[in-house]
Symmetry: C2
Subunit: 146 residues, 2 copies
C-alpha cells in the first residue's frame, strides 16, 4: 500500500468526519501533498462547497503533510492545530481539491524544533481549487512524545 493510501486509511478510521467527507490523499511526499473529496457529501444550502467542509478538508491536508514529514524523519510527536485563517474567494462548484507544499528549510526547522526543544511549529498555506477558490493559513504544533 502506498504512503498516501495508508495515511488516508488511518485518518478515515480515526476521524468520522473525514469518512463522511470522503477525504482522499492522492499524492504524498514530504515536500508536497494533494488531496481530494467529492462535492456531493460536502455541499451547502446553495449546492456548492460547504464552508465547513472546505475548511475541514484543507486543515486535514496540512495535518496529513505534517504527519508525513514527522513519519518520514522517524520523529514521534503529537500533532495539533494551533490556529488558522481562511478566506473564501469564489464558490466551489466541483470536487474539492487541496494542495500544500513545504520547502526543505521549513521542514528542517520544524523537525529541529521537535528534536532539540521538544516542540516544533510549521505554518502552511493550503489552497482549495485552481483559482484558488479558498486559501487557508494554518499553524501546526508538534510536541515530542516521551
Amino acid at each position: 500500500m502506498s504512503a498516501a493510501d495508508a495515511l488516508t486509511q488511518k485518518i478515515r478510521g480515526a476521524i468520522p468526519l473525514s469518512e463522511a467527507m470522503r477525504f482522499t490523499i492522492d499524492h504524498l511526499e514530504p515536500g508536497e501533498i494533494r488531496v481530494s473529496a467529492p462535492l456531493e457529501p460536502n455541499i451547502n444550502i446553495h449546492g456548492t462547497g460547504f464552508a465547513g467542509s472546505i475548511y475541514s478538508v484543507a486543515i486535514l491536508t496540512g495535518w496529513a503533510l505534517c504527519t508525513h514529514i514527522l513519519d518520514d524523519a522517524g520523529v514521534d510527536a503529537e500533532l495539533v492545530v494551533g490556529g488558522a485563517e481562511i478566506s473564501y474567494r469564489a464558490p466551489v462548484t466541483s470536487d474539492l481539491e487541496c494542495r500544500c507544499g513545504a520547502a526543505d528549510d521549513e521542514r528542517e526547522a520544524f523537525l529541529a524544533g521537535v528534536r532539540e526543544r521538544g516542540k516544533g511549529r510549521l505554518s502552511l498555506e493550503i489552497t482549495v481549487g485552481d483559482l484558488p477558490q479558498a486559501r487557508l493559513q494554518a499553524t501546526f504544533v508538534a510536541i515530542a512524545r516521551d
Copy 2:
C-alpha cells in the same frame, strides 16, 4: 415547531456534513444563539474534538444566527461566509457547545446594508466550550435577492 427546531431541520436537510455532525440549535433569538453537537461523531485521532468539526459547528452557529436575523426582519438575502479566523486553546473533551450573540446596533447596521445598498456584513465571535476551548471570528455577507 420552534424557530430553533425549524432552522436545525432546514440546515440538516441541506448540508450533509451538519447531519453527520448532529448539529442542533438549542436556543435561537435574533440577539443570541446556542448550538450543540455530541463529541462522538466529531472526534479526532486523539479522541477529542476534531479541529474541522469545531470550526464547522462554529461557522454554522454564526451562519444560523445571521439567517435568523434576516428571517426575523423579513429580509430576503443570500448569505455566504467571507472569511474566518480560529484559535484553538485547549482540547474539547465533551460535547461541542457554541455560543454567539449580536448586539442591537450590529444587527441594525447589517440589515440596513442589505436594505439600502443590497449588501450587508456582520462580523461575529463564536465561542466553543466554557473556557472557551476555541474562538472563531467570522464575517458573513448577505446579498439582497432581486
